[in-house]
Amino acid sequence: MLSDLEPLTVLIAEDSAADRLLLSTIVRRQGHHVLTAADGAEAVDIYIQQRPHLVLMDAMMPVMDGFEAAQKIKQLAGEQLVPIIFLTSLTESEALARCLEAGGDDFLAKPYNQVILAAKIKAMDRLRRLQATVVEQRDQISRHHDYLLNEQRVAKAVFDKIAHSGCLSAPNIRYLQSPYALFNGDLLLAAFNPAGDMHILLGDFTGHGLPAAVGAMPLAEVFYGMTAKGYGLAQILREMNAKLKRILPVDMFCCATLLCLSFQRCTVEVWNGGMPDGYLHDSLSGVRTPLPARHLPLGVLTPQLFDDRTEVHPMSLGDRVFLLSDGVIDTADDNEQLFGVERLQQVFSANREPDCLFEDIQQALRDFRGEPRDDFSMVEVRLVAPTQLNPPPPVYSDSGQSSPLDWSMSFEFRAQTLRRFNPMPYLLQLLLEVHGLRAQSGALYSVLSELYSNALEHGVLGLDSSIKRDASGFARYYSERNQRLDELNSGHVRVHVHVTPHGDGGRLVIEVEDSGKGFDVARVLARPADSNRLSGRGVSLVRQLSHQACWSDDGRSARVEFFWEALA
């Protein structure tokens, strides 16, 4: 009666020779390979040497009884299931319980019944195989898990580097990211542009884990690359959106808030696509102005439909911008109630010490839920005097042997171009080919940007800078700027660049002309430079940062000079 199951190796431990002979014959006739032992010690030895699949064990045996032998075999088998069937004429429940305690899986009573024995061996074999499968699958899962953890660790190390190659350690930034926030798709980037303005991005990819973090790589690349070259938020946003739209699957996108903090102009420019409200905190009045999401997240719209319009707010020294991820307000309590914006605002109003805002929020989250989610990000940036910051000097990779020293160039940018294109990064890149100018790249970029935006906004667009007298006028000014720019169909800005040798070094002259109505140069220059005034800051900034700043043609043409000494 060979059964359908594969032959097993069965160890029979039985001190009675007749019973042993009988049982071996029965088991062998059922198609299995049989090993025999006359006592417990022998059974353990044979188990060690031959690793049988199953053991039939008499309880009462000399030298070592079946209980002890069963315990030893179970111990040796470890995670493997070696079923032990006790052979017994024991009837007392206490003795049967001892068999189970010793690791017995079943009993077989004397006198033996072949049919029952075959059924029990079959059942035990099923159990044994099940256990083997479970152990194998568990090991497999555990291997996969280890593999996954390792991948995550490697990926996290890479992303941490990306996230920390910027200026998150600047003294005016404070941030808090739970350890796994990144792996839940949160991304926090910060970098200085050539003028010393700070760009900050807090992003939140859809979904979780690796797929979410994968999108972080190209986003960070665009952010750092374009910020370092002096691109404005609008261009950076357009590029990030186009890139994500191109590479991400349809159901993935990135909610993001992008900031540009200008420490010289004392402004913050904001674009929020799909993130919770950020807040601009006025340190004097204590008022918190929300910075709500006005746009779809990055990676949703085609480049044609993408909206890159930003908002600009004035700031004073000590004012702060606070951004957070939805992990904070979507923290749920046991009843699936969300923490929500109202509770966050209660924390704001209860907050007495601005430097402890993060701690207050965390405490509120703990009070609300017991423990905060492990995927939240918060960042706070303070407006400080430019001197308090130390933007790292840009790194140049060329050898420095081919610096162009005697040349001129003129550009004319007309309405179509002015509407969408910012030529400043290109001009700056060009000028930084002149190695002597590299040491003053920040001042150069600031002056160039200032002259260009004056020419565009006050000249071509005819905007009156005195509108920017107060905060509400400030907002009006920028919305007016956007509207006029959208409708622009005539006018131009010309930029002339002259580089000539001068002594051992050289001289750069920049002239910027516009097609506007000009302004009363004498009156503007006569005004004292007042750093607290929101309007007219540009002119004094230009005069501070460059030599020989002068205006001609009724203010329609500005001219500045930069000098440099021989390079060491």
């Binding site: 939140d204 859809t206 979904g207 349809v250 159901d251 993935m252 996108f253 909610c255 696509g273 799909g274 993130m275 919770p276 709500p292 999401a293 006005r294 746009h295 779809l296 997240p297 949703v300 939805d326 979507d330 699936e336 969300l338 914006v341």
Partner: protein
């Protein structure tokens, strides 16, 4: 079933109703609800009356649905969202992609209650359903 699908008798209008949490756990069911149809419906209504919560992967699923239904040319209405869900849709600015109504029937007689007026193409879309 936490995703219930209903197709109008003429096959022109598909209504997908979500019950409970609308999150990644509904991914499979939600996709099947529109992918298994033989006939592509003219209009789709996503009814969130019984949806308690919606996360960013649900927003992703809505984008997939929109893509499936023809992207820019799709006609998808999201109706009956509760206040929590409405907040999430507002933050993400999804009203720029979808027609979001407070009530399912609001679009039929009162364009005023609609979050984004777009009455013209709506009237067209409603006709086949009445035929």
């Amino acid at each position: 079933m936490s995703v219930v699908t209903e197709v109008s008798p003429d096959g022109q209008k598909l209504t997908i109703s979500i019950k409970g949490r609308f999150d990644f756990g509904r991914h499979q069911e939600f996709r099947e609800s529109y992918e298994r149809l033989n006939q592509k419906p003219e209009s789709i209504v996503v009814d969130l009356k019984e949806a308690t919560y919606l996360d960013s992967s649900a927003l992703g699923m809505l984008l997939l649905l929109r893509d499936h239904a023809g992207g820019e040319d799709s006609d998808i209405r999201i109706v009956n969202s509760n206040s929590d869900v409405k907040k999430i849709l507002a933050i993400s600015n999804f009203d720029k992609l979808f027609d979001i109504y407070p009530k399912e029937d609001a679009g039929k007689d009162s364009a005023g209650e609609k979050d984004k007026p777009q009455a013209g193409h709506l009237q067209d879309k409603l006709h086949p359903g009445k035929a």
